[in-house]
Amino acid sequence: MREITIREALNEALQEEMKRDDAVILFGEDIARMQGAFKVTAGLLDMFGEDRVIDTPLAETLVVGGAVGMAMAGLRPVAELMFADFLGIAMDQLCNYAAKMKYNCGVNVPLVVRTACGARGSGMHHSQNTEGWIQNVPGLKIVMPSTAYDAKGLLKSAIRDNNPVVFFEQKTMYGLKGEVPEGGDLVIPLGKADVKRQGGDITIIATGGTVHEALAAAAELEGRGISCEVVDPRTLLPLDHETIIESVKKTHNVVIVHEAPKIGGIGAEIAAVIAEEAIYELESPVRRIGAPFTPVPFSRPLEKAYVPDRERIITTVMELLSPEGV
């Protein structure tokens, strides 16, 4: 099958949805003429014009607030927050407006906020995974794809969804290639996890960039006789309990991985769900792998030590499955 990058997959999704529905418009800093900091909106200004691909001033309250207004007025804006770190600026517009207006007055807010997350040599203010900041906010959905296929299908669904969806794109993965069928209407329902690899001994639940670390770890562990199942929730809110619990019931062991700090991250919710719904199935303690509880460091060796990688997954799996010592 055809292989394209995640960047291209996202661009195709935007293009297709903009063609399908005039109400879809793009709104953000430097997304029109400059085509976005990561070029996800390349070509779209030429294709759809200034009324549908709209550059904004440097003002994230406006990027999100303005998009919320447009959504309430019946458009389907896709706002871009250049970096996920900037979510903090627009939390009020997102969490107190977008998330609550349906409850407040019955109006749908069909908004997507796309944003680039993850560490990539830029230091503490341009590297964060901030999905944990909004996981306790009723009214939002949260999506985090790990492949080109998922990126395309989930973004198209997010745009069609009548609820505010925050869509996290791991910036190290924009260039990652994957199979995506040419043509057709690739739509992946929100709220459905994907088993990225089947296995019998242990479940590794991983999100975003760490999915690929989990798959690499699983390949390596295969050689050591350990069969790992890799589950990618893809949608973090709502979480697909069914797929997660099913996998845990099959393997009886579980490791949860994400790039955000471990404490208070999405892994806490996943671990809690397992502790509530499948505790008797477990043959070893739940284990979470996340970043340490520090800002994202700049220096290369520090950043490398910070971001959870395949080595840490392998070590953790070995510890869990052979508790007498690795």
């Binding site: 418009i25 009324d51 549908r52 709209i54 904004t56 001033p57 003002a59 309250t61 406006l62 999100v64 607030g65 303005g66 998009a67 919320v68 207004g69 447009m70 959504a71 309430m72 007025a73 019946g74 458009l75 804006p77 009020d92 517009q93 107190n96 407006y97 609550k100 207006m101 349906k102 409850y103 407040n104 007055c105 019955g106 109006v107 749908n108 009723p138 009214g139 959905k141 969804d161 009548n162 609820n163 709502p238």
Partner: protein
């Protein structure tokens, strides 16, 4: 400038009276028996909402703040529904999920807002942008107070509206106070409307207690906005005659209040109508009677409507099925 017909003067007056009676009733009921939604009274500020919204088209957008209920009532939101929302009952706009304070009424262009003051300024720019994109000729009226104008959203919203020539009116009710803070203690300039110059957009200071002036000035800016000439910042000077909310004690001096009552917009309009021989005292009495009955009925409706079933709690969090909100 717009000239105002006799009929419209009567129409404006009727709205003033309706809103005044609604406020008086609210204050009275709160004092006598309580109301679940803590009233933040607009007594004395009615002319702003009334004058601004009286001449709007049905599909124009109104983005209200906490104290601008007269805008909603003038836009046509049914009193019964407002009252049901104040009491958290069925029959309102959200079956008790939300207060009436920040209610939306989509079919009348009334945009739901937030109790977190000032966020609705950027939202308003979004409505304006939507109208610009769709060329639908709607205008958006965004209402806020002197206090609310201090949120950063003021800056980001009007800069964008002016840049894009959005059809948005930013209408400030400067009632001299934000809770306990007199305006000179929280705003570094005398006339907030003067800030418009810094955004290359017109700013006007008007008498917010003169419903005719409000009507004329807003209509003037509405026309400008509809013609694609962009936003206007309109500062309506007024005065908050009641404490911040009905649960608070009055902290201001009697002199200050007495002076302010002299500018009460309702008798002022009455004087005008009498002088112009548009209405007689007895006709005005009839109008008051009519609305007193209507308002009484609305409160009766709100108070006696049934409470929502607990199930209602789980509705309208998401569009589509969302069993999981019960968690």
């Amino acid at each position: 400038m717009v000239t105002i017909s006799r009929e419209d003067k009567i129409g404006l007056y009727r709205q003033l009276v309706l809103n005044r009676i609604f406020e008086e009733k609210t204050i009275e009921l709160y004092r006598l028996e309580g109301i679940p939604e803590l009233p933040h009274s607009n007594l004395g500020e009615e002319a702003i909402g009334v004058g601004s919204c009286y001449g709007l088209n049905a599909d124009d957008y109104v983005v209200p703040d906490l104290r601008i209920r007269p805008a909603l009532i003038t836009k046509g939101v049914p009193l019964n529904e407002i009252c049901a929302d104040m009491y958290g009952r069925l029959g309102g706009t959200t079956n008790g999920r939300a207060t009436s304070h920040h209610m939306g009424y989509p079919s009348l262009g009334v945009v739901g807002t937030s109790g977190i003051i000032g966020g609705h300024l950027t939202i308003s720019a979004g409505f304006g942008m939507a109208s610009k994109i769709r060329k639908d000729k709607r205008v958006t009226l965004c209402f806020f107070g002197d206090g609310g104008s201090n949120r950063g959203d003021f800056h980001t919203s009007i800069n964008f509206a002016s840049l894009k020539k959005l059809p948005v009116l930013y209408i400030i009710s400067n009632n001299q106070y934000a809770e306990g803070m007199p305006v000179e203690s929280h705003i570094s300039i005398k006339d907030i409307a003067d800030r418009a110059a810094g955004y290359s957009m017109p700013g006007k200071v008007i008498d917010g207690n003169d419903v005719l002036e409000v009507y004329r000035e807003v209509q003037d800016s509405v026309e400008r906005a509809r013609n694609g000439e962009g936003p206007t910042l309109i500062e309506c000077k007024t005065f908050r005659l009641r404490p911040h909310c009905e649960a608070h004690p009055e902290t201001r001096s009697q002199e200050e209040l007495d002076e302010a009552w002299k500018h009460d917009p309702v008798p002022r309009m009455e004087k005008h109508l009498l002088h112009e021989k548009i209405l007689t005292e007895s006709e005005m009495g009839d109008i008051r009677k009519e609305y007193t009955r209507q308002v009484d009925e609305a409160f009766e409706f709100g108070k006696s409507a049934p409470y929502p079933p607990v199930e209602e709690l789980y509705n309208s969090v998401y569009d589509g099925e969302a069993e999981w909100v019960r968690s």
